[in-house]
């Protein structure tokens, strides 16, 4: 007998005006636990990209990076390296979406979680079914809406920008974290 439920609503919100609210769905720690359940240690390994690395990643991923600084942790389980944990942000429609992503040691995407979503519409990108499409993707995957990633109508921009963000992280890992 067990319970497996995930709220699709923020853990605490006060929504005033009709449709405008900021929603924090989980903390970074909760995202770590959801993505790397077996990890017992996260070693900070922040990356500062050189202009050349920035250019290369932009070119390979087809996505322009927003900052040379990338928050990265090495996830460890009983002293063994299991993957990289990233906190990253992309633009949704008008506002930034904060998300966490895990990349396995072999360079495949483990999972990602939305941490904070500030838009009134489009938070369907949190659905497991949509996020599960990314599991196992690599830097070589197309990662394009309507090619290997399904779109969510009403959340098109969030879908596209998150897909771009994941693609860029996969390329970044291949380029500088190997």
């Amino acid at each position: 007998m067990s319970l497996d439920i995930r709220w699709l609503v923020p853990v605490a919100i006060v929504a005033a005006a009709p449709q405008c609210y900021a929603a924090k769905y989980m903390s970074e720690e909760q995202a770590r636990m959801l993505i790397f359940a077996q990890a017992d240690e996260f070693l900070a390994a922040p990356v500062q990209l050189t202009p050349e690395q920035m250019q290369q990643i932009d070119k390979l991923s087809g996505v322009a990076g927003r900052s040379p600084n990338q928050q990265v942790w090495r996830a460890m389980s009983k002293g063994v390296f299991v993957g990289w944990f990233f906190i990253d942000q992309v633009i949704g429609k008008h506002e930034l979406i904060t998300y966490a992503a895990g990349i396995n040691a072999d360079g495949t995407l483990r999972q990602f979680q939305i941490i904070e979503y500030l838009e009134a519409y489009g938070s369907q990108v949190r659905y497991t079914k949509w996020r599960d499409q990314f599991v196992g993707k690599t830097a070589a995957s197309p990662l394009q809406i309507d090619v290997d990633i399904g779109n969510i109508s009403g959340a098109t921009l969030s879908c596209r920008h998150l897909t771009d963000g994941i693609k860029r992280l996969l390329v970044l890992q291949q380029s500088v974290l190997r």
Partner: protein, 278 residues
């Protein structure tokens, strides 16, 4: 889908063996019918009605299922310090919230007057009138789920008017009913969900509220607005905890955690919508 327990019962299941699944579905529906036969407050010939008439005079032997529900209800009453109480029926009858099926005993009795004897018999220390409306439906859903699991189903869902339990691997999206339409609030793969709401918030409710909640402390129907959804490993616990979670609010989080349960409170006032989850 068919009517049962004063609401609509919806059972669905899938398994490797179509014939076995078919049998399991029949067993599941039969389990719900059995709970209704035993524990209906309204039926004159239910075991509960017999208990209400006779258990203050002499200990009564009851079906193991009825005993199991009474045991859970009593434990919930003890742990919630009486916020959940199956002995408030006389007040409900007097306030017209339950039909008058027998002469209601004077109020003043509470869950402490319900004695469950070790040999499976039930005794009332003073005249009581029990109503299992707050737990029996959840228990029926659990029994239906057990039947489907026994029958080899790999994916199943039982929903009795908002008391829902499922197992399997596919996530099931639970919706919040709002004036503007259905809003998805949770993904449930395995476990149970039950919902209770205030009477006056018909348009701002989560899923299907189970009717009114009675507040044993205030001795009247709960005056709160909004609704509460409780998720728990079993439906009988989710069902019972919705009443506690509605009356106590987020302060009851430790009690919920004790049962491995989580809740979503959805309250509304003039200007704001508040949501809090555990």
């Amino acid at each position: 889908m068919r009517p049962a327990m004063g609401t609509l019962l919806h059972v669905s299941a899938a398994g490797p063996d179509a014939a076995a699944t078919e049998t399991a579905l029949d067993d599941a529906v039969a389990s719900v019918d059995r709970v209704e036969r035993l524990m209906s407050f309204h039926a004159q010939d239910s075991e509960l009605t017999r208990l209400n008439r006779a258990a203050a005079s002499a200990p009564q032997r009851v079906d193991p299922w009825t005993f199991a529900v009474l045991r859970r209800a009593r434990r919930m009453a003890a742990l919630s310090d009486g916020l959940f109480d199956i002995t408030v029926a006389p007040l409900l009858v007097r306030q017209g919230l339950l039909p008058q099926s027998m002469d209601a005993p004077p109020d003043g009795g509470n869950w402490r007057d319900l004695t469950l004897l070790p040999d499976g018999r039930v005794f009332f220390e003073r005249p009581l009138m029990l109503d299992l409306g707050g737990v029996a439906k959840g228990f029926a859903v659990d029994q239906a789920i057990h039947a489907l699991r026994r029958g080899g189903c790999t994916e199943a869902s039982v929903n009795a008017g908002g008391d829902l339990r499922r197992f399997g691997t596919r996530p099931h999206v639970i919706h919040l009913r709002r004036r503007t339409g259905l809003v998805p609030v949770a993904e449930l793969r395995c476990g149970a969900v039950a919902t209770s709401g205030g009477q006056d918030q018909d348009h701002e409710r989560v899923a299907q509220p189970l009717g009114c909640i009675f507040d044993p402390r205030q001795r009247r129907a709960w005056a709160g607005t909004g609704s509460v959804m409780v998720a728990a490993p079993s439906c009988v616990i989710a069902d019972a905890l919705t009443k506690v979670a509605a009356l106590a609010g987020p302060a009851c989080k430790p009690l919920l955690a004790r049962f491995g349960a989580r809740a979503l409170w959805h309250t509304v006032d003039i200007a704001n919508i508040y949501i809090e989850c555990s």
